[in-house]
C-alpha cells in the first residue's frame, strides 16, 4: 500500500510539474492563433478562410490564452464555485512527501474510505487539474471546428476535474450521504 501511494504521489508530482509548462505553451499558442487569424482576415481572400463564418473563434482563443496564463487562479475560481474555496497556486518544484499508510484503517468502513482517498489526494488533485486543462483544450478545438465533439462532454469533464481537485470534500459528502446510523 505504501509503495502504491509513493508511486501515485510521484505521478501526481509529475502531472503538477508538467501542467504549468503545458499552460505556458497553450497560452502562447492561443495568443498567436488569435492575432494571426485577425491578420489573415484582413487579407482580400478572407472569405475563403475556414474561420471566417465563425467570427468568435479568435476571441475565444484570446480569452483562453488568459485562462492558461493564469490557470491556478482559474482553478481557484472553479473551486470557489464548487464550494470548497481550495486555493491553487504555483511554487518551485519540491518533491511531495507521500502520506503514511500505516493508519489507513479507521473505526468504521466509511472512515477507511475517507482515509484511502486522503492518501491519494495529491494524485487526484493533480489529475483533476489536468482534466480541467484538457477539457478546455478539447472545447477550444470543437469551437474552432478542428474536431467533432460534444461541448457538453467537455463540460462534464470540466466538472469531473474540479470534483477530483476537491476529492476529499466529495468523499466526505458521499460518505455522510450513506451514513444511516444515528
Amino acid at each position: 500500500m505504501q509503495g502504491l501511494i509513493n508511486f501515485a504521489t510521484a505521478i501526481g508530482d509529475g502531472i503538477a510539474v508538467l501542467l504549468p509548462a503545458f499552460c505556458y505553451l497553450a497560452a502562447c499558442g492561443c495568443f498567436f492563433f488569435f492575432a494571426w487569424t485577425l491578420w489573415t482576415w484582413s487579407q482580400p481572400h478572407r472569405y475563403h478562410h475556414h474561420h471566417w463564418h465563425r467570427p468568435w473563434v479568435p476571441w475565444v482563443s484570446l480569452i483562453l490564452s488568459g485562462v492558461f496564463a493564469s490557470f491556478p487562479q482559474f482553478l481557484t475560481m472553479a473551486d470557489v464555485s464548487a464550494g470548497t474555496s481550495l486555493a491553487v497556486s504555483l511554487t518551485s518544484y519540491a518533491p511531495t512527501t507521500p502520506p503514511n499508510a500505516s493508519n489507513v484503517l479507521g473505526n468504521a468502513p466509511t472512515a477507511t474510505v475517507v482515509n484511502v482517498v486522503t492518501l491519494f489526494q495529491h494524485f487526484f488533485q493533480a489529475f483533476g487539474a489536468a482534466c480541467v486543462f484538457w477539457a478546455i483544450m478539447t472545447w477550444r478545438a470543437i469551437v474552432n471546428g478542428r474536431i467533432n465533439g460534444s461541448p457538453t462532454a467537455c463540460g462534464v469533464q470540466f466538472v469531473f476535474g474540479v470534483l477530483c481537485i476537491n476529492i476529499v470534500s466529495v468523499a466526505n459528502g458521499v460518505v455522510s450521504f450513506f451514513q444511516t446510523g444515528s
Partner: protein, 152 residues
Amino acid sequence: MKLSTVDARVAVNKRRFAPLRGKVLAAIAGGGALGFVYAGHALAQASSPSGGIGAQLNTISGEAINSGGTAFGMSCYLAAAVCFGLGVWALWQSRQPQNRETGHVGRGLAGLVLCGLFATAGVWINKASITASGGNATINTTPQMVQFGTGG
C-alpha cells in the same frame, strides 16, 4: 552442413554444460530474490526521492518552456515585422489609382495595429488573464509546479 554433425555438437555441448545447469538456475533464483528484496525496500520508503519522476519532468518542462518561449518570441517578432511591412505596403498600394476600392486601407491599418499587438504579446496575454480570472498572469518562463492548498 549435415544434420548428424549438428546433433553430435548438441550432444557434446549438452554434456559440457550439464554441471552448470543447476548453478545457473540457482543464480537466476538468487538474482530474483535480491530483486524482490530491493523492490521491497523501495516500496517501503516513506519519503519522496529527490531524483524522482517529478524532478526529471521538472527538467523536461523547463526545457520545453525555454524552447517554446523562444519560438513564441521569435514568431511574434517575425509576425510583427511581416504585419508592419505588409501593412505599410498595403497603405502605399491604396494610393495607387488602380487600387482605390479593394480594401487596401483596411489591410494597412490592420497590419499596423497587429504589428503592435504582436510586439506587445505578453502585455495582451496579461490583459486577457485579468479578464479571464481576475488576476495577473502567473505562468512564466520559470518551471514551477501546481500547489494545492488546504480545504479540498
